[in-house]
Structures are given as C-alpha cells and as structure tokens.
C-alpha cells in the first residue's frame, strides 16, 4: 500500500505546485489558462537540462526559470498589450505543445538511472513537504501581509487599488511570474520525480485539472490542499487501479483513466449548483479575466 500512497502524494504535489501558482495569479485578477503549457515547457526544459547536465537540481532550476519566463510572457501579452487573457493563455498552451513536441520528443525515453534523488521510504520525494509548506506560505502572504492585501485588492477592483497608491501593473506582473515559476516547478517535478520518462505531451491534462482545482478551491489555499489530495488520489487510482481492485475488475484500463476528468466535471457542477453558486460568486476575484485599462 505504501508505494500507492506515495505515488498519490507525489501526484498531489504536482497539482499543488501548479494550482498554488495559478491561485496566486488569479487572486491578482489574471487568469492563465495556459498553465498546462507552462507545465509542459517546464517539464521539457527540466528533462533536457537534466540529461545534458547530468544534474537533477539544474533540471529543476531550468524548469522553474522557463516557467517564470512563460509567466512573464503571459503578463506581457495580457497586462501590457491588454490582450484577452483566454486568448493569450491559449496561445501559450498551443505554442508549448508545438515547441515541446519539436524540442523534447527526440529525447523520448527514461532518465538515466544515475539521475536519482533521495526519496522518503524509497518512494516519496521530499519536495512533497515543500509543497505543503508552500500552501501555508501562500496563505500567509495572501492573508497576513500587506503584499497579500495589495494582491487581493488588485484582483477585486484594480481602479480602486490604483487610487489608493498600489501599482496594479507591478503587482500583476509579480503574480503572473510567481504563477509561472510554480507552474514550471510543477512540470519539472512531474517529469524528474514522478514520471521520469519523456513521452509525447507527458502532462496529459494535469494542468487543466490544476486550473479547475483553483476554481473549486474558491481561491483559498487550504481548500486547494484538500482538492489536490482528492484529485491526486483519483488520478493515481486511474493510473494503477489494480492496487485497490486486483485485476481492475475486468474493466478496461482506459475507463479508469477517464475518472479524474469525469470527477472534475462533476465537482465543477457541484460547486456551481444553486446551493454553492452564490458563495462561489462572492469568493471569485471580481476583476478576474478583465484587462486593466487606465483611463
């Protein structure tokens, strides 16, 4: 059972890194639907760097930096050029798919065995605890610091925030870059610790689930933690159902792989059902998705 639990916790870590970054930048009012693309390029650069340099640490650093650059790009497009945030995010995603296919698919295959990191109980990466700590840190920054107050007010009403002397552009840039850095870390972690094998589009929809997780966390880090645990478990169960049901009960493997996606739709529907809808609408950053145009 321990290997399965460790794998669940690693999947949870992947979701947590990406979703925490996305939560942060959504709190400042910037929606980045390209998070799957950020993860994908983070994973690609992490993987290629690790193979060439022979160092996992450098791989992680490369993934994080590339993620940050993509966050910056999203900021450039959606904050400075004031392009629709959905179009910009889509652009980053489609670009990442094309670029990663061309650049990293030729490295398809496993990481060399020499590139291994210490794991707790032989299975769980210590970065899991970093992710847990980050939940607390993000919560602390958002709710207990003046920076967090600025971020949240920029996400609610940028023109009022500007009037009180907050530099909206700077706060939003900071937020999208943090979102990108964490998205890149998530991708690097996915490929360097969890999968350890490159195959075509290894993220396989995880970034989109991370995005959905932010929506139904009601933009609160601790709810996000629970959501990531739930979906980490569902995802891992989808990958290896035989741990719980020996032989998979004769149901084809593909059916299990659908589960996280079906679960996402169901949870999105629950959160938007009449019972929760009002609460959800109130929690949503009011300026989310709107470019800020100074008049």
């Amino acid at each position: 059972m321990w290997p399965f639990i460790a794998r669940c916790l690693e999947t949870m870590t992947i979701f947590l890194f990406a979703a925490l970054g996305e939560l942060w930048n959504q709190r400042s009012g910037v929606l980045n639907v390209g998070i799957e693309g950020v993860m994908l390029l983070g994973a690609a650069s992490g993987f290629v760097t690790a193979i060439h340099s022979g160092s996992l640490a450098l791989g992680f650093i490369a993934g994080i930096i590339v993620g940050g650059i993509l966050g910056l790009l999203h900021g450039l497009l959606s904050i400075t050029l004031k392009v629709d945030q959905v179009i910009s995010g889509m652009g980053i995603w489609i670009f990442a798919m094309g670029f990663a296919t061309w650049w990293a698919d030729k490295y398809s295959g496993p990481l060399p065995a020499s590139l291994s990191s210490p794991k707790i109980g032989g299975m769980l990466s210590p970065l899991f605890f970093l992710a847990l700590t980050l939940v607390f840190i993000v919560w602390f920054i958002l709710y207990r610091t003046s920076l967090g107050l600025k971020i949240r007010s920029v996400g609610e009403d940028p023109s009022v925030a500007e009037a009180t002397g907050i530099n909206v552009t700077r706060i939003r840039y900071l937020s999208v870059i943090v979102g990108g850095l964490l998205g890149g870390l998530s991708g690097a972690f996915l490929i360097l610790s969890y999968l350890r094998v490159w195959s075509h589009i290894p993220t396989s929809g995880m970034g989109w689930i991370a995005l959905a997780l932010v929506f139904f966390s009601m933009w609160k880090p601790f709810i996000l933690l629970g959501g990531a645990l739930l979906f980490g478990t569902i995802w891992q169960f989808g990958v290896s159902p035989e741990v719980i049901f020996p032989g998979g009960l004769g149901i084809p493997l593909g059916v299990y792989r659908m589960l996280p996606f079906i679960a996402t739709i169901i949870v999105l529907m629950i959160i938007l059902s009449p019972k929760f809808r009002r609460k959800w609408g109130l929690a949503k950053p009011a300026a989310l998705g709107l470019p800020y145009v100074k008049e």
Binding site: M90, I94, G98, F99, W102, R257, F261, I265, L268, L272
Partner: protein
C-alpha cells in the same frame, strides 16, 4: 539623427480592412520568427519554405494529401468558429472529433455488409450525431450551470480520448496489430473524384453555407447579437440556452463529420491508428483555433487560410526527409503564429502614431 516620437492612440472603431491587415502582418512576423528556428536547425530559411510549398502543391507528391488535410482543417475551423460567434470557446473540437470517430466506426463495423450508397451516409450521420451530442453537452452545462467552457471541453476531450483507447486497445475494435483498429470495409471508404474524396467539395460547400447562415439568416442574426451583447439579446427575447445548444451541436456535428473525412477520405488510414497516431490528428484540430482566429471568424476566409496552413503541415514533413531537420517543426510554426497573432491583438485596441514636430 533623432528618433521619431511615437504615441499610442485608442482605436475606437476597428474597420474590417484594418483587422485584415493586422492578421496578415501577424502571419508575416510569424514567418520571420520561424526563419530563426530554421536557421537554428542549420537550414536556409528560403530554401526550406521553397521545399515546403513545392512539395505540398506538387500534384505528383503532396497535393492530394495537402487537400485532404486542408479540408479537415477547414471543417474543424468551422466547428470552432460558430460557437465562438456566441462567445463560447469550443476547445472541445478534439473531443467531438473523437466522438465522430466512434460514431462512424461503430456503424461501419456493425453494418459493414450494406452497400456503399447506404453505409456511407449512415456513417456520416452517426459521426455528426455523436459529435453534435458531445458538443451539446458542453453548451448545455455552460449555459445552465455556468461551468467554464474551456476547462469543461478539455475534460471532455480527455474522456473521449480514453473512450477510443478502450474500444481499440484490447477492446472490441482491436485489429490484427493490437494497437490499431480493424480496417474499415472497402465500401465505407469515401468515393473519390480523381483521388480527391467527395468530402472535399462538401467541406467547401459547408463553409459557404456557414457564411450565409451567419450573415443572412435570422438564427445567424441571433448568434451575432448574443455574441456581442448577451444581456441585450436576452432582453430582446432570445433564448440563450437554445442558442448555445444550437451552436455547440452544429459545431460538434461538423467536428464529428471531420472524423469521417479524416479516416475514410485518405486510403492510407481506413482504420484508427495507434494512440499516438489518433492523438496526433486530435491535436491537429487545435490548429483550427488559430485558423479561425486569424480569419477573424469568417468562414469564407477560412478556405484559403486552411489550405495555406494545411500545406505547411504536409510540406513540413519534407523538411524532415529532404533537409534532415527535426520532426515537429510545423507544430512550432503554428505555435509561433498563435503567439504573434495574440500579440498583434494589441493593434485591435491601439494604434501607434507618429507625433509631428511642432514649430
């Protein structure tokens, strides 16, 4: 020397002519940036472009495949355009294409003995219905529940991917090679007019019909109204739920139909290929997003644009063979085109003007 002083000015009304210019400029810039990638690969950019297009449009080499892929691209572009006219981001074309695949193959395997004249229309109807149903689910959930349609349709795409996986890999449709499906019966393949499948003129006819539907019909008027101002449309008595389900179902039907065109219109397919293979075609549907946006959602403009972009995909393959470049450069081009197009959206809102020196 002194630099000219520049200033930003808000664009209040964007004329159609300016929008076309901006789209064209973004394509040119994409080509320039892509040339840098070609240089990085050690290829002469001009030589590479000449190879791409001469291969893609050579009747003895790539032309037939170019037309086939371009028309597939046209169909998926139409499937994307119509829902976006109401503001619905149909990123689920991929899933609707997968469902169309399931519909078409289910009919072909179950009723393979029927004559071609009956079997083919049945396959096309089934493909359209499956795609339409899948699209309508997304439209319904978006309008009734307010679920974010981008996340929703991506989830549906992934579900549909694994559905085909279940049917083919170790499932009822498994062929001799375990990772591919059984071949379609010969009567299911699309009849051709000199090597060109009949679905090609059909795709062009559909885009003309779409054009008139959007500009000249009452439902098209409603769609445009709702897209530009949903609350005003509601006050005017339009039913958003019906409208959303209509556009997503029609979009899904076209996406489903594209599945018949893809698998039965090219003799080298005739079956569902390995998962990476059908996923590759599924990812190709995302190119429809960029074609649709660059064409400013105009179904007629989508015809030349999809031929142009489609020829890049087919011709891009020659870069691998003839110039020894890395596989997948065509995907990079589309990614770059999308990003430059996104950046050029800036000019939909602002223009840069030169400030004249006052004396």
């Amino acid at each position: 020397m002194r630099l000219p002083r520049l200033k930003l000015e808000r664009v209040l009304v964007l004329t159609g002519r300016d929008a076309v210019k901006i789209s064209a400029a973004s394509i040119i810039v994409a080509f320039v940036i892509f040339s840098i990638f070609l240089l990085l690969e050690g290829a002469d950019a001009i030589e590479a472009y000449r190879n791409i297009f001469s291969f893609a449009f050579n009747p003895r080499l790539g032309l037939v495949t170019t037309i086939h892929r371009s028309m597939f691209l046209l169909l998926v572009t139409l499937a994307f355009i119509l829902p976006l006219k109401t503001g619905f981001w149909n990123v689920g074309v991929q899933g609707q294409f997968y469902l169309g695949t399931v519909g078409a193959f289910a009919v072909a395997y179950a009723l393979g003995n029927l004559p071609a004249g009956v079997l083919i229309p049945l396959m096309m109807v089934a493909a359209s219905l499956f795609g339409a149903g899948y699209g309508a689910i997304a439209g319904f959930l978006k309008e009734k529940w307010g679920v974010n349609e981008v996340v929703l349709t991506i989830m549906l795409n992934n579900i549909a991917f694994w559905l085909i996986y279940c049917l083919v890999i170790g499932g009822p449709w498994m062929g001799i090679s375990e990772s591919e499906s059984r071949s379609l019966p010969a009567s299911a393949m699309a009849p051709t007019i000199g090597k060109i499948p009949f679905t090609v003129p059909l795709a062009i006819a559909l885009s003309v019909i779409f054009y008139f539907l959007l500009t000249k019909s009452s439902i098209g008027y409603q769609i445009r109204c709702y897209g530009s101002n949903p609350s005003a449309a509601k006050y005017a008595g339009m039913n958003p739920l019906k409208l959303l389900i209509f556009v997503t179902a029609i979009g899904g039907a076209i996406a489903g139909l594209s599945a018949y065109h893809m698998w039965a219109g090219d003799p080298s397919f005739g079956r569902i290929p390995r998962p990476e293979g059908y996923m590759g075609i599924g990812d190709f549907t995302f190119w429809g997003i960029i074609v649709g946006l660059v064409c400013l959602l105009n179904p007629i403009a989508a015809i030349p644009a999809s031929i142009f972009i489609g020829s890049l995909r087919e011709g891009g393959a020659i870069l691998v063979r003839r110039l020894g470049l890395t596989f997948g450069l065509d995907n990079v081009f589309v990614g770059i085109l999308f990003l430059t197009f996104v950046a050029f959206q800036f000019f939909h809102r602002y223009k840069i003007i030169r400030v004249k020196k006052r004396r």
